[in-house]
Amino acid sequence: MMRVELTVNDEQHTADVEARTLLVHYLRETLGLRAANVGCDTTSCGACTVLLDGESVKSCTVLAVQANGRTVRTAEGLSSGGELHPVQAAFRQEHGLQCGFCAPGMVMATVGLLAEHPDPSEKAVREALEGNYCRCTGYHNIVRAVLAAARANAEGVAQ
């Protein structure tokens, strides 16, 4: 067993895990954070996307020990004080989900995208989400939601 110390959603956690434990399993089973889903389990679908030190990664392809000493954010850690995060609010407003299975990964990929590129074009949004699959094929509303979130962020900055 290996001792790992991670900061997850602003809280410090220490746990003993097998070295082969995947980050997504550590989040879901050890910490009980079930937003990140295991979809394809082969680094393709993006349902397990979380932020590692602020960057989007697929947590089914990261070992928990690789995240030792680092900072993780999941969809559970986005809202504060009962207020939805602007990206979550935009997904609700634009109905950027159907069954919802891909939504936590889409939202986290979007948060990562907007941190790197605050004002993406529609084409850039579609390219940036190439690692996130929506099997309901609800991409149009998802892209609208990302663009709406970018606008909301810009207005928030302007105010």
């Binding site: 082969r20 434990t21 995947l22 082969t42 590692l52 697929k58 392809t61 990261v62 070992l63 190439e130």
Partner: protein
């Protein structure tokens, strides 16, 4: 899917990594970003007894100018290469190639050293560094040695790396104003190339047309001898030995190699004539079917 059990050790430096490789030998695998190795371990296609994590070795993440070469640390990630103004300026083909690997999440984790050591013949970066005539720096218990990229890839997922060696640096000639072309044919976003072509400065390299990235030497020689783009591209598959799979049969791959080589060389001509080294953004896979190459020169 969960990997088979393994022992996990963290290397604190490149020398430490080599010492751990010497200690554990063939039972050990190096873990960089893990985006080639971990999927194989989850499928139990790889079951190393020991994983040596080199992810903490920050000293290998550099991208810097070294005389007439660009020196890139093996732990530089695809996202780092794609965003680097140095790489865009001096080896734009490499920045373009790195930006096409997988998807943003994968590019946040995957490293150039990991991709080259993994040596997937269908991958972007092995083909790119082959076209760029890179030199690879390997560190072992006896010190550093340099090897040309043509001698590095020796077979299917196989390289000249010895069991106790670590790839530490990739050296790419700086060529800011030389034209280049890059074609990656996929059916879906996020896929490996069914066939890929990268060309720069008279070198042409192919992905997924053999057991490792290979040079289209017949085309290169034809171009050097004054042949037209169409004539040279028609020879692109001559030295290739592609396999067949559910994506494409051998004849289709050979056809794609010829067509994509013509497109890559044509794009390359254009960038030479305009002296532009700006990375092209339009790299979306095309499904148009070319028949016979038309004369373009």
């Amino acid at each position: 899917m969960i990997p088979a059990p393994f022992d996990y050790v963290v290397a604190s430096s490149t020398d430490d990594a080599v010492a751990l490789l010497v200690e554990h030998g063939d039972d050990a695998k190096l873990l960089a970003g893990g985006h080639s190795l971990l999927p194989m371990m989850k499928l139990r296609l790889a079951q190393p007894a020991v994983l040596i994590d080199i992810g903490a070795i920050r000293e290998l993440s550099y991208i810097r100018v070294d005389g007439d070469m660009l020196a890139i640390g093996a732990m530089a990630r695809h996202a780092d290469l794609a965003a680097s103004t140095l790489v865009h300026a001096d080896a734009p083909l490499l920045a373009h190639s790195a930006g096409l690997v997988g998807d943003p999440q994968i590019r946040h984790r995957g490293t150039i050293g990991g991709s080259l050591s993994h040596a997937d013949p269908a991958a972007d970066l092995p083909m790119a560094v082959s076209a760029l005539d890179a030199t690879l720096v390997l560190l072992g218990p006896g010190g550093r040695r340099e090897i040309g990229v043509d001698d590095f890839f020796v077979g299917f997922f196989d390289t000249a790396l010895r069991a106790d060696e670590l790839l530490v640096e990739i050296r790419v000639p700086r060529r800011p104003s030389v034209g280049w072309g890059y074609e990656k044919f996929t059916r879906r976003a996020n896929d490996w190339a069914i066939v890929g072509v990268a060309t720069v400065a008279g070198r042409i390299s192919l992905a997924n047309m053999g057991s490792s990235p290979i040079r289209a030497r017949a085309s290169e020689q034809a171009l050097a001898g004054g042949a037209s783009v169409a004539e040279a591209a028609a020879l692109a598959d001559q030295d290739a030995a592609p396999g067949d799979d559910m994506h494409a049969d051998v004849e289709y791959r050979r056809h794609l190699a010829r067509v994509l080589t013509r497109r890559a060389l044509t794009a390359c001509d254009r960038c030479t004539s305009t002296k532009s080294s700006a990375p092209r953004t339009d790299s979306s896979p095309s499904t148009t079917t070319d028949t016979e190459p038309s004369s373009t020169k």
